[in-house]
């Protein structure tokens, strides 16, 4: 591999593009220059911090440290999912069911990858585990938040229609099955877009990164295909799990519609 190492000067050159954005905002009076600069600074600080953290974690090769990092990432993803719908669950249910879905989707797909395709030694080698979890959580977050927002939004909007069905003796499941399907479909759209655009409209980030780092394109492509499959599986699991859990929480043993469990 002949990766070209970037120097601080190289990064400073690229940063002038951000300064250009800020100048643009000043000239056109977009009022965005502050936000652009703050966001760029945040990005740099966050990534450098992560870089150092990963360096430490990679050097430790300690399963416990790896687990802690993975858990923190997963909880942040769950919080983002739970925060998405306009009306939120009372108590810790929103965070709880999001965390359950994130855990399920991530464990299954990362576990599958580490046990079959990638098989690092040891299997918990943070270089693989943390990186995989990071990529997969992105898709889980997308699919889970769209699905949860879909379920909660639709149930709130369609309250009269759902209760009219319940009042005529319909099961809760039957009265909400269409909403459920729509929510899961929404959750799966991003990964479908991502897969159909891959390589034609966009060069996926991982693949581009590996090619820039000097890897043979075909090797990079194989990695990308594996990852896309993992992301597709994780998206599906997250979307379905979140939708089912949310529906379950919005009804009870008498199959009522319990909108009182939302804020």
């Amino acid at each position: 591999m002949n990766a070209i190492t970037l120097s601080p000067q190289d990064l400073a050159m690229a940063a002038s593009l951000v300064a250009f954005d800020a100048a643009l905002s000043l000239v056109l009076r977009l009022g965005l220059h502050r936000q652009v600069l703050v966001a760029a600074t945040r990005m740099v600080v966050q990534l450098i911090a992560v870089g150092y953290l990963l360096r430490v974690i990679f050097a430790l090769k300690n399963p416990l440290a790896t687990l802690v990092v993975v858990l923190v990432m997963a909880v942040i993803a769950a919080r983002e999912i739970a925060a998405r719908p306009e009306r939120k669950f009372r108590g810790f249910w929103g965070l709880g069911l999001s965390a359950g879905a994130v855990a399920l989707a991530t464990l299954v797909t990362v576990g599958l990858a580490l046990a079959t395709a990638i098989r690092p030694h040891p299997w918990y080698d943070p270089r693989y585990a943390v990186a995989l979890v990071g990529i997969i959580l992105g898709s889980v977050l997308n699919a889970g938040s769209l699905s949860l927002d879909g379920v909660v939004g639709a149930i709130d909007r369609e309250r009269a229609a759902i209760e009219a069905q319940l009042a005529l003796g319909a099961n809760f499941r039957a009265a909400t099955s269409r909403l459920m399907r729509e929510a899961v479909r929404r959750g799966l759209l991003p990964i479908i877009n991502q897969m159909s655009a891959a390589g034609v409209i966009t060069l996926p980030g991982i693949m581009t990164g590996q090619i820039l780092a000097g890897l043979d394109p075909m090797e990079a492509v194989k990695y990308q295909i594996l990852l896309m499959f993992l992301l597709a599986g994780a998206s599906g699991l997250a979307a379905v799990a979140v939708a089912f859990a949310a529906m379950r929480r919005l009804t009870d043993d008498r199959q009522r519609l319990r909108l009182d469990r939302l804020h």
Binding site: E158, R159, A160, A161, I162, E163, A164, Q165, L166, A167, L168, G169, A170, N171, F172, A175, R178, D252, D253, R254, Q255, R256, L257
Partner: protein, 211 residues
């Protein structure tokens, strides 16, 4: 209670004992088969809450019985199929009214719609093109075709013109004569009189007798 008195006094069709939620009650009621109770009261007094609690759409404590059988001995959907609630604001989940009926109920549904004075053709039009009154009557028809022993009607004639009101009342009177028990939320005292209904007033989320 002895066997004798059980026979002489039949179990009421619908009975409520100490039914309450955090929002309303307690309510105690006994309604015989084929009788009608009209509940009036200011908006927000708790009239809809009462009907929703009986239908088990809102959680409540206390005893609700149908022909002496406790509500909790059957599942929520089976209960609601027997104590059918028709909301003041009708809900729809498909394109045309017809699609809201099971195939075996469509013919009866059309017949009821005609009797209630719903414009011919409305049954197969898109729901969003129908008038509020048409939607309200068709929502009532959805419950009527199920022929439940108890009907819980929330302002069934609210948005209707006098002629349609008369038609709805005629159909409801027929159901009463056939033994259906009806609880009706109505602001019209003369309607209760025409239906031969007992009247109660809902005030501060409690039921009071109307003198």
């Amino acid at each position: 209670m002895s066997e004798q008195s059980d026979v002489s006094k039949p179990a009421p069709r619908l009975s409520l004992r100490g039914v309450r939620s955090a929002l309303a009650g307690p309510f105690d009621l006994e309604l015989l088969a084929g009788t009608c109770l009209a509940v009036s009261g200011a908006s927000g007094a708790g009239k809809s809450l009462l009907l929703r609690m009986i239908a088990d759409l809102d959680p409540s404590t206390g005893e609700v019985r149908l022909d002496g059988v406790l509500r909790e001995t059957m599942g929520g959907p089976s209960w609601r199929r027997k104590a059918c609630y028709v909301a003041a604001e009708s809900g729809w989940w498909r394109d045309t009214p017809c699609e809201h009926f099971a195939p075996e109920h469509r013919e009866a549904g059309r017949a009821f719609a005609m009797r209630l004075g719903v414009r011919e053709g409305a049954f197969d039009e898109e729901v969003r093109r129908l008038s509020t009154g048409e939607r309200q009557r068709l929502a009532l028809v959805r419950a009527l075709v199920l022929d439940p022993p108890v009907l819980l009607l929330d302002e069934p004639t609210g948005p209707l013109d006098p002629e349609s009101v008369e038609r709805v009342e005629a159909v409801l009177a027929e159901r009463l004569a056939a033994g259906t028990t009806i609880i009706l939320v109505s602001h019209d005292p003369s309607q209760a009189k025409r239906m031969g209904a007992d009247r109660r007033l809902m005030r501060n989320r409690r039921l009071e007798p109307l003198s």
